[in-house]
């Protein structure tokens, strides 16, 4: 059980360090690579929690999809070797102050809920509820706890987003301008 705790500490340190580097580094391409490491660490956290399906989705959609999309758009719009201009000093100071105050406030609020402190996860990897077939059955069922309607709505949303991307990014002919 001690090993499991160490895995959590190492994973969370990895997530926080890579996330912090991804928002502070000056080279935009490195920022995208740090974001990739951070998202992989979050997928590792899901594995640690025993949610295997959501970890796989995290790797497939975030690491394999969104980060690759971001890297492509960096190549299309930037000179990736160049440094970004540093943020204004006063803005850095004030945003760091605001973030620290917000973090401390949230931590104080959370520490008042002593109910959360004693809770421990149930490590039951073979539980039938967590299997992929249970997830699929519940997602497509139309009974009380089914998610068929949100599933259909999000399919329409993805279709609309795809068409919108094509329409937005299509190259207009020069004589139209």
């Amino acid at each position: 059980m001690i090993g499991s705790e160490w895995v959590f500490y190492i994973l969370s340190a990895f997530i926080l360090v890579t996330g912090g580097l991804s928002v502070t580094t000056r080279k935009i391409f490195r920022s995208a690579i740090w974001l990739l490491f951070c998202l992989t660490g979050i997928a590792g956290l899901y594995f640690w929690l025993g949610m295997l399906f959501i970890a796989a989705v995290q790797i497939v959609v975030y690491v394999g999809g969104i980060v690759v999309l971001i890297i492509f758009s960096i190549f299309l719009t930037q000179q990736s070797g160049k440094d970004m201009p540093p943020p204004v000093r006063s803005r850095t100071i004030f945003s760091a102050l605001a973030v620290c105050v917000g973090f401390l406030l949230t931590c104080v609020l959370m520490s008042q809920y002593s109910r959360f402190k004693a809770l421990e996860p149930q490590y039951d990897y073979a539980a039938p509820d967590m299997s992929v077939s249970a997830i699929g059955t519940q997602m497509l069922s139309t009974t009380e706890h089914g998610y068929a309607l949100p599933f259909e709505v999000i399919s329409i949303l993805l279709l609309a987003a795809m068409i919108a991307c094509i329409v937005l990014a299509i190259k207009s002919k020069p004589e139209e301008k």
């Binding site: 979050i42 959501i54 605001a98 973030v99 706890h145 795809m162």
Partner: protein, 102 residues
């Protein structure tokens, strides 16, 4: 064992790292990356609450799945807008996109 509090601290820290990036960055792609960090911290919360409070149910997992799907759609549309903006004004700095500013 790790109590639920520690996971909530982790996701809060990740959320505020994303907020810091959103405040300080002025490049649209890096701001989009900060938004992705914020969405991921929310996902961690949903999954952790599902695992710790209601381990026999799947609701938190479904919410995370839908958030991931919406984040993918949002990133795709945002990048299409950014590329279109770059074609028109040759910059993706938010300060440069001031044509509609009153």
């Amino acid at each position: 064992m790790i109590p639920l509090n520690y996971i909530l601290f982790l996701s809060t820290a990740l959320f505020f790292i994303g907020m810091y990036g959103l405040f300080t960055r002025r490049n649209m792609i890096t701001m989009l990356m900060s938004v992705e960090l914020i969405l991921n911290s929310v996902n961690i919360n949903f999954v952790a609450f599902n695992k710790y409070l209601y381990p026999e149910k799947l609701e938190g997992l479904f919410f995370s799945l839908f958030i991931i799907a919406i984040a993918a759609a949002e990133a795709a549309v945002a990048i299409a807008i950014i590329i279109n903006l770059y074609r028109n004004i040759r910059s993706i700095d938010v300060e440069a996109a001031d044509e509609m500013k009153f």
